[in-house]
Symmetry: D2
Subunit: 164 residues, 4 copies
DNA sequence: TTTT
DNA sequence: TTTT
């Protein structure tokens, strides 16, 4: 289908450490459990209530897997932007089951660390974007600002993967 | 939890007519099936491929249910903005099952019709927002623009519900 | 025009304390300066570069003004969601000038504090949403989750303003 | 700065045909004027009001420039996703002036045509994404869906630029 | 299972 | 003028 958009934006905290698994072909997936929650006052009782939603996030992008693995821990606050995907699988009894995840893979996927609490090393947080930007031409006036900022949105950590 | 965001944005087409059900208490839910899809060229074979994702949308907001019921049909293109929610339920064998939906309910939920195909009447499409805006004060200079536009994001169709 | 969306999402830090001004009619506006920035490696020189963008945010929503005033300070990290608006004004020489701002006003505007650094009091951060949610009906099965969470996205702080 | 997000999402109609200019170095920029508008009922007078906001969009991404040039026309409805950027320039009298635009350039920028009205050819609309996806590894089970959809969000039109 |  |  032409003309569609599939976008999920979450800001929340990890319920546990990231879990990374490797595939036979060398690829990796990193799974996160992210909690979002909201408070409201019950219309009838007037009492304050809270509801927490747990989200399953699957990161396939190599650079973002590296960031998640290295810098995120249980309790970390993150901004993630990805796509909704539902997978079909079979349970032990052979029945069809479905799991819906927020998938970070390829273009437009983003992972931004929002605190430094969980970092073991000296890295102080940082944005990492799925597939790096870059730009097919250098621009001159009248867009000097862009000219001097060839790939403003490119992720820092993926640089070695940007195929220029 | 303080400080979280749970947002889904979809632009896609309805796979079938909206389905509306009523609750005992007079409330309604409207369920949509929305398709988004993407094309890419296979890295290995070089052939063009397409993948369609189907999303379950549940609208609880009274005004948006009315809009969906009245103006959306199979094939309609829509922009929806809501929240990810996973419900737990029991199948016939008593096993726990989970369904993840995009829920439009309350603050920040939006439904925007993007074509006129499905409209039976003269209504030419329009944005409808969950719970209307409104503003607690009238503003004067230097924000004349806002002053004259007290509730710029308010939906048109919910007006009778906006407590001005 | 029917069928349009105007949405800005920023995550960044305040460059200075929030500035609140009052209007004659009792309304208030709170102005924020929010920095976002990005890093990239220059394609030609290979050196690391950074570009910071400064955003002007104007909050008209009463509840959000209160939150910003009370909890945000220079350096605070925030998530804001609002609309792009361009105002026309005259400079001293009578020439037309234009200023573009991210406006938080009414439906769909959001302000989420992402750190606790700036809080003077005991309030530990929290999401505050423009105009509170609420729900026009109580729902029963089969959407028990929603039934027990009537207005999941409603802001906590605005509750007294929700007109039920 | 680490940890920031700068995102604008618009759905609206072009007020005039796209304007494309070339730079000395061969780069191009395509400027769009996009209208979004909203309706509301005046709190005081009760009358229906409308406010239209005009947005300046600058597309630097080569593939998206091509799409805009070829398929968009005055009146076309589009979804755009880009970044807020403010440029400084000097007017004739040498005074500093600022212009804020929605910039589509590099990672995360998106342009989706939402109608077919403006197309001269047989192309029925389509999503086009800034810098194509692609994936650094092939995935196997248990994520078969992803395995067979290596770059789900890649744009169709940029394919010749995707460096596989 | 997070966070406040 | 923030932040890392």
């Amino acid at each position: 289908m032409a003309g569609s958009v599939n976008k999920v934006i979450l800001v929340g905290n990890l319920g546990r450490d990231p879990e990374v698994r490797s595939f036979q072909n060398g690829g990796k997936v990193c799974n996160l459990r992210i909690a979002t929650s909201e408070n409201w006052k019950d219309r009838n009782t007037g009492e304050r209530r809270e509801r927490t939603e747990w989200h399953s996030v699957a990161i396939f992008n190599e650079g973002l897997v590296r960031v998640a693995e290295q810098y995120l821990r249980k309790g970390s606050k993150v901004y993630v932007e990805g796509q909704l995907q539902t997978r079909k699988w079979q349970d032990q009894s052979g029945q069809d089951r479905y799991s819906t995840e927020v998938v970070l893979q390829g273009f437009g996927s983003t992972l931004v660390m929002l605190d430094g609490r969980s970092e073991g090393g000296g890295y102080g947080g940082g944005q990492s974007s799925g597939y790096g930007g870059g730009q097919s031409g250098g621009y001159s006036e009248p867009y000097a600002a862009q000219s001097s900022a060839p790939a403003p949105a490119s992720g820092g950590i993926d640089d070695d993967e940007i195929p220029f």
